[in-house]
């Protein structure tokens, strides 16, 4: 089996064996459900319910008014307790709708109704996707209907489904590919309906041979869908590297995949598109891996959006001992949390609890110019030089040597033998440059 890859990248200990064979388990919603109005990139959604209003499963409780925004759907029935700022996994206080769950799960009319997507127009499909609140579930949470609306539908040659799941420890996409492979393929067909000239490629890292086998079997008679094995390395699932591995086409930070004729969607996003279009079920749940050496029974769980993280950890048997660090997302790009009292959102992907914090254990030393960061950078940058400029607040030179092409994957920091916090300083510098460009 030939695998495709890119130049650079790293091979961290993957930790997937903890949870990759654990079937997805549904967990009950919590009594208090929290729906942040901003769970996506773009303008926050506007709440259309008020305190005291009753709401049902599947009801839209906030709408994204601008094009780049996303609706928020209620996942339980109950009453709106308040609309207030709540802590999210990113560590920010975000205006949220808090719903008191009555645990009756009364649904809106028509939820779950079967629809044949082939009878729907392209406009209708896009409208359903927008109204279902679907965003990219790989982590960035970019509204999916925007991604699926390029300038010209005919220019799209590839619809790529990102099944790389290159982050260590994460296995939710792996499980979805195995347990929902039919829905995945149907969802891809829905997207292909939008782009007449495109072929669908389901790209999977070759450390998941059982997924590759299962899906290959399923699409053997589909002439518009292919499965492509990718080389296992981090960050294979990053959009630019994925598109390159699949098509050989390159694009940079100032471009979108559509500029090179590609549309890229995450595994769970595609399944959500199927649920929304064919089953009239908006985005209401997330598959989340709860894992790490400080978790009693690591596993994969299906949680209703709005559920408290604490419930997920309890479902996984709770924590063993006292973990030093708990991460929302994967260990390479996830966010360290200081509390578990946050809600599941559309872009939650994992909870990783670690008994040892490798960051605190490794004090930064001086750079010895070994060049490992240069070899690891998937964007072909020289992090060693970027760090020098970043340290001296030299934003002009930082940008000149391509600093804005960095997408903060963390590979350079992972390999650095001097344990320098490269990515952290790049984040700061990039943020400062971006905010100045906006102002200026």
């Amino acid at each position: 089996m030939k695998s495709y890859g890119f130049k650079g990248g790293v091979h961290p200990l993957d930790g997937k064996e903890l949870s990759k064979d654990k079937e997805i388990v549904d967990i009950p919603a919590t009594k208090e459900m929290v729906y942040p109005l901003s769970q996506h990139i773009g303008a926050p959604a506007k709440a259309i319910v008020e305190k005291g209003d009753a709401c049902l499963v599947g009801q839209t409780i906030a709408i994204g008014e601008s094009f780049v925004s996303a609706d928020v759907i209620c996942t339980v029935s109950g009453t709106v307790k308040s609309i207030e700022k709540r802590m999210t996994a990113s560590g920010n206080q975000i205006m949220s709708i808090v719903v008191d769950n009555d645990e009756e799960y009364r649904e809106i009319e028509g939820l779950g109704r079967e629809v044949d997507y082939q009878e729907l127009s392209k406009e209708k499909i896009r409208e359903i996707i927008k109204k279902s609140g679907i965003v990219g579930m790989g982590g960035a949470a970019f509204p999916t209907h925007v991604k699926l609306t390029p300038k010209n539908d005919d220019d799209i040659d590839y619809v790529i489904v990102n099944g790389a799941e290159c982050e260590p420890y994460l296995t939710s996409d792996n499980r979805v590919m195995l347990e929902n492979s039919k829905e995945l393929v149907e969802g891809l067909k829905v997207i292909l309906r939008l782009f007449d000239n495109a072929v669908g490629v389901i790209a999977i890292e070759d450390n998941k041979p059982e997924c590759i086998k299962a899906i290959k079997e399923l699409v053997k008679d589909e002439n518009r869908i292919k499965v492509k094995a990718l080389r296992t390395k981090y960050p294979q699932g990053a959009e630019r590297n994925l598109v390159y591995a699949v098509t050989g086409r390159k694009f940079n930070s100032t471009m979108l995949p559509a500029d090179v004729g590609c549309v890229v969607n995450n595994i769970d996003t595609v399944v959500s598109i199927y649920m929304a279009v064919c089953k009239s079920t908006p985005l209401m749940r997330r598959i989340i891996t709860v894992t790490g050496d400080a978790v009693a029974n690591p596993g994969n769980f299906s949680a209703k959006i709005g559920t408290n993280y604490q419930a997920l950890v309890e479902a996984a048997g709770g924590l063993i001992g006292e973990p030093e660090k708990i991460i929302s997302g994967g260990p390479m790009m996830g966010t360290a949390m200081f509390t578990l009292d946050v809600p599941v959102t559309k872009n939650s992907s994992a909870i990783v609890a670690m008994s040892k914090d490798e960051v605190a254990a490794n004090e930064p030393l001086s750079c010895i110019r070994c060049g490992r960061c240069v070899a690891a950078c998937p964007s072909g940058l020289v992090p060693q030089k970027m760090y020098e400029f970043s340290k001296h607040f030299d934003e002009e030179n930082f940008a000149r040597i391509g600093g804005m092409e960095c997408y903060e994957c963390g590979s350079c920091t992972y390999v650095c033998p001097a344990k320098l916090r490269l990515t952290q300083s790049f984040k700061e510098t990039r943020k400062s440059i971006i905010s100045k460009r906006r102002k200026g």
Binding site: E358, C367, P417
Partner: protein, 337 residues
């Protein structure tokens, strides 16, 4: 949860390799050459090696203590500098030479420029060149008289047994110097290293074993040593082809095995701090060193050229990096004008 959770910026995991583990690997890779040096030159060579290492590590410790800097003696880099310096010294130097050399390497070349990662010149080579210029008589005397008695043999090793004094027993030339004079040198003994020279440079095979170890462990990339050796061979072949006697494979092969070329290519030129970080820069750097070494060896007064070539190369590193900055992924080459 009573204990507070750690919060930091991503990524949250780190590779196992550290500055210390890398330096340890380099030290391990130098072991074949070191052990061969002791076999070839006896226990006195071991004493020189020890003196160099102690001098380097102690200099670093005292300097950092006095300057109230963070102690870095634990990272093994001063140890490696000491070892490399020793391998670049003749086995006959009095013990004050390694001690002064170690102090110069660490204090002048490394610490005065800001410590680890900041020096622009390879500390061991900087010290060697300083010693060569200051005490050229001692530093270029490779004569070892033939000795008898078991004690002397232990003390001077193989060199004591054979006696390394090729020309007239006084001037004590290395086989490389003989080669330059146009004399025949046995390629097998050149490759194995049973001849005069500095402690660690004589055995091409021992150095190669260490070099291959570093390549396999991915401590160094093939770019610098590969480009260095290939360009050197190319230069020497062309030189040989245009010489009076015509092209001689023996001449090329001996040039490759003798002198500090192998040690330089695998262990000195690949010093992280003083070589380019850009992938193409490493190749440019290697080619530059190969040509410079060739020029020094063929046209210079001395038969050696590796140390000076690498030091000049070190100084050009910022320039090389500037012109070899890679193009970021997906960014088109900028049009001029």
């Amino acid at each position: 949860m009573d204990k507070l959770l750690n919060v930091s910026s991503a990524p949250h995991i780190r590779d196992n390799d550290s500055v210390k583990s890398i330096m340890e690997e380099v030290a391990i890779a130098l072991m074949p050459a070191t052990l061969f040096g002791v076999y070839n030159f006896g226990l006195y060579a071991a004493l020189i090696i020890l003196a160099c290492i102690v001098s380097c590590v102690l200099s670093e410790y005292i300097y950092e203590k006095l300057m109230k800097k963070k102690l870095t003696t634990n990272d093994m880099s001063a140890f490696v500098t000491g070892l490399l310096l020793a391998l670049n010294l003749p086995a006959t130097v009095p013990l004050w030479v390694p001690i002064i050399g170690g102090m110069f390497a660490i204090i002048i070349v490394k610490q005065l420029f800001g410590g680890i990662g900041q020096n622009f010149m390879n500390p061991a080579l900087g010290a060697r060149c300083f010693l060569l210029i200051s005490f050229s008589g001692i530093m270029t005397n490779f004569t070892v008289a033939k000795t008898t008695g078991i004690k002397n043999m232990i003390w001077y090793g193989l060199s004591g047994l054979n006696g390394y004094a090729y020309v007239d027993g006084v001037s004590g030339a290395t086989p490389l110097a003989l080669l330059k004079k146009g004399e025949e040198v046995d390629i097998i003994s050149s490759f194995l290293g049973i001849h005069a020279g500095t402690i660690g440079e004589t055995s091409a095979v021992a150095i190669l074993i260490g070099g291959i170890y570093l390549l396999c462990k991915k401590i160094i990339s093939i770019r610098i040593p590969g480009a260095y050796i290939l360009s050197f061979v190319a230069y020497i072949s062309v030189y040989s082809a245009f010489s009076e006697n015509g092209f001689s494979i023996d001449y090329v092969a001996n040039n490759l095995c003798l002198g500090g070329l192998m040690l330089g290519a695998f262990f000195m030129a690949t010093d992280y701090v003083t070589s380019p970080v850009t992938p193409n820069g490493k190749i440019v750097f290697g080619i530059l060193l190969g040509v410079l070494t060739g020029v020094f060896r063929t046209l210079g007064a001395s038969s050696e050229g590796v140390s000076y070539a690498i030091i000049i190369g070190n100084m050009l590193v910022p320039l090389i990096e500037k012109v070899t900055m890679p193009r970021p992924f997906g960014v088109e080459r900028r049009k001029h004008g």
